[in-house]
């Protein structure tokens, strides 16, 4: 978990550098090596690492628009993910998806830029596992701002009524862009939504990776054993703006500082030291994670951009005419002969 978390944190810090490097002095969202919106997840690592530690490659995870830490925790190919974020030909989606639309079928990871809309497809993966009698599970990550969205609320019922092996994980970073949780949602604890749908719900109100790990162990175990869905909410922190370039005028200095002080990585490191892990070992893990991230970014930047004409590829899996380009000679009733 520590390794995943330090990888994810450093990844976001490095991407921030790369993204901002060529957007100075004037910020222009369409300029630079990484254009478009970039939503970084520094401060949210514990939720992803604690949950995904229980998952196998055949388990499905869907993420929202802020997906990197989850992708890293799920074991998404770091080089190809980075190449995708840089819009390169060797990226996961050959440059078509970008950072909000990462797909790695090798480890059953996908994410979507539309709030809460990754939740129903996760239920679909859980449904497939159930129909096929496998013990795979599915996990959907969503932000606390997404818990008022129909796609999520409908899926709570769908998953419950079909006893699906699904765990929904709310990452509560307190902010839906500029809207604080209490302004737009009438419950403090989002996991209470579970009660109305007859499923267990639990909140971890600090981002202690070990606590997340333990709560997730029960939830995922329940799903794997055929005992239905669970809703979890995990308090995380938003150390960065909603997207890079967001001036955060709506957010007080105190709030930003509080989010930066509460560091789940330091908390886990302390915990590991208490359990007898040497500082040297932690340093080694961190340094090797940083090296891996640096290598992935360097590799990605060396990759070629896609050829423009590839924009027309990948609309379909089969050719437009379908699985066959010929019609069979079927006798027509009432035909001439």
């Amino acid at each position: 978990m520590y390794e995943k978390m330090v990888t994810a944190r450093y990844y976001e810090e490095r991407l921030e550098e790369e993204y901002m490097a060529d957007k100075k002095p004037a910020f222009d969202i369409s300029k630079g090596l990484i254009p478009g919106e970039l939503h970084l997840a520094a401060g949210q690592e514990a939720a992803a690492a604690g949950v995904c530690a229980h998952l196998r490659d055949d388990d499905t995870v869907t993420g929202p628009h802020r997906p990197h830490h989850i992708a890293i925790a799920k074991g998404v190919d770091l080089e190809r993910m980075t190449a995708e974020i840089f819009g390169r030909e060797t990226g996961l989606s050959r440059g078509k998806g970008g950072h909000m639309h990462l797909f790695d079928p090798e480890v059953n990871f996908a994410c979507s830029g539309i709030i809460a809309e990754g939740v129903p497809p996760a239920a679909g993966a859980a449904l497939a596992a159930k129909k096929r009698n496998t013990d795979s599970v599915a996990v959907a990550f969503l932000g606390e701002g997404a818990i008022d969205q129909g796609g999520f609320l409908e899926t709570l019922n769908f998953a419950s009524v079909h006893d699906l092996p699904l765990v929904m994980v709310i990452e509560d970073n307190e902010w839906a862009i500029s809207m604080p949780k209490e302004r737009v949602t009438d419950v403090e604890d989002g996991s209470k939504r579970a009660g109305g749908f007859d499923m267990p719900g639990e909140r971890v109100d600090h981002d202690d990776a070990v606590d997340v790990y333990e709560v997730a162990e029960d939830a995922i175990g329940r799903a794997r054993d055929g005992n239905g869905p669970t809703l979890l909410e995990i308090q995380v922190h938003r150390r960065m703006p909603h997207f890079l370039g967001d001036p955060q005028v709506y957010r007080s200095e105190e709030n930003i500082e509080r989010h930066q002080q509460l560091d789940s990585i330091e908390r886990l490191a302390d915990d590991l030291r208490d359990r007898g892990v040497e500082d040297g070992d932690l340093d080694e893990i961190r340094e090797s994670a940083h090296a891996r991230v640096d290598e992935a970014i360097e590799w990605a930047k060396e990759q070629p951009l896609p050829e423009p004409e590839t924009a027309y590829e990948d609309v379909w899996t089969n050719p437009p005419y379908g699985v066959s380009d010929t019609e069979p000679a079927v006798p027509v009733p009432g035909g001439d002969d």
């Binding site: 004037a26 910020f27 222009d28 969202i29 369409s30 254009p35 478009g36 919106e37 995708e84 819009g87 390169r88 990226g91 989606s93 440059g95 078509k96 998806g97 970008g98 909000m100 639309h101 979507s112 830029g113 539309i114 709030i115 809460a116 809309e117 701002g145 997404a146 008022d148 969205q149 129909g150 796609g151 839906a176 862009i177 500029s178 809207m179 302004r183 737009v184 949602t185 370039g245 005028v249 709506y250 951009l305 896609p306 050829e307 423009p308 004409e309 590839t310 924009a311 027309y312 609309v315």
Partner: protein, 344 residues
């Protein structure tokens, strides 16, 4: 230049505004005059609109009239419909037009149809304000214009300004209109600090309120050889292309539709009657949409006058992320010039 500005209706040398400021001015004026006008949307209060559509409004009108809402589009767009049917005049912001998918029932089965289904006994005087457009690599779920999708479904008026002057006049008309109006602004034209606009959308804007009627296309540039029909960002790209073409001896007329529903068919026909050559430029998907519709109207009314037709639109692919891919599919100034040449 002064003449062109006068044509746009602004005073030459008058106070210039960005498109976003012009929209805000119209909303603020209407809100001062009518207590029943209010704004609902995500991040419209403290953030003042992701695309600066509500700058300064929460300070003046407070949180009750500039309402941040949960990320629940079905609910808050539907609530807009219901409040409008009670006679209020909500302006509801759908942050990106792309997000229509999660709330389309409220938009096309409720907002758009209730007047008709009630035999005219119910009105829905609301504005659905929404951001459209690509050019900054935001990929397939945040870059669409979807003009054709909305315009296809009867019961909504669809407007999309290309200048600050038009934006203000269209917004006044939209708020005062008793029917649902979908006001689609192009992000690239708003004059955002973080997404620089091209030259063109920032225009002189009169301080006093004024309305621009829907269904009145604007001749942005006169020419006798070829007609280019377009709207939004591509008005500016078409004017740029026309400047290049002048050097080649081709005089292009550029028609800015300003609204799709109602559509100023007469203006299109009048121009094409003169030029005989029609190029439709659309940032929306090519098939089953705006470009086909305009060509069809021209063909129905004046087939014999048509010498050549070209469409410049998004090929039928979702909008890709990577810069060379997005550049390939979004119609460029050069694509427009090429299409104009091809009609000759």
């Amino acid at each position: 230049m002064a003449e062109a500005e006068a044509e746009m209706g602004g005073e030459p040398g008058g106070r210039e505004r960005t498109m976003s400021r012009a929209i805000v001015e119209a909303i603020a004026t209407e809100m001062r005059e009518d207590e029943e006008v209010f704004v609902m949307g995500e991040d419209v209060a403290d953030y003042e609109g992701i695309f600066d559509t509500t700058t300064g409004l929460v300070e003046e009108f407070g949180y009750d009239r500039i309402m941040d809402v949960p990320i629940s589009e079905t609910s808050f767009i539907g609530a807009g419909v219901g409040a409008a049917q009670q006679g209020m005049r909500p302006i509801v912001e759908l942050m990106f037009a792309d997000f229509f998918g999660v709330a389309m029932d409220q938009i096309y089965n409720q907002m758009a149809k209730n007047t008709y289904m009630s035999g005219g006994s119910v009105s829905v005087p609301m504005v659905l304000l929404t951001a459209v457009g690509a050019t900054y690599n935001d990929a397939a779920q945040h870059s669409q214009t979807l003009y054709g999708t909305f315009a296809h479904l009867p019961g909504m008026k669809i407007v999309s300004p290309s200048t600050a002057y038009d934006a203000k006049g269209l917004m006044h008309n939209a708020i005062r209109d008793d029917d649902p109006v979908v006001f689609m602004f192009h992000k690239r034209l708003m004059g955002l600090g973080w997404m620089p606009a091209p030259d063109g959308p920032k225009t002189p804007v009169p301080e006093e309120p004024y309305t621009i009627p829907f269904g009145s296309a604007d001749v942005k540039r006169e020419g006798d050889d070829v007609t280019v029909v377009t709207l939004g960002l591509h008005v500016h790209r078409a004017v740029d292309a026309a400047e290049t073409l002048t050097e080649e001896g081709i005089e292009t007329e550029v028609l800015d539709l300003r609204s799709l529903v109602p559509l100023d068919t007469d203006a299109i026909l009048e121009s094409v009657r003169k030029t005989g050559r029609l190029v439709v430029v659309d940032e929306d998907y090519r098939s089953f949409g705006l470009s086909g519709e305009i060509v069809a109207r021209a063909a129905e009314e004046m087939l014999d006058d048509l010498e050549a037709v070209q469409r410049v639109a998004l090929p039928d692919v979702p909008i890709p992320y990577s810069r060379p891919l997005e550049d390939e599919v979004i119609p460029s100034t050069e694509d427009i010039a090429e299409a104009v040449r091809a009609t000759r």
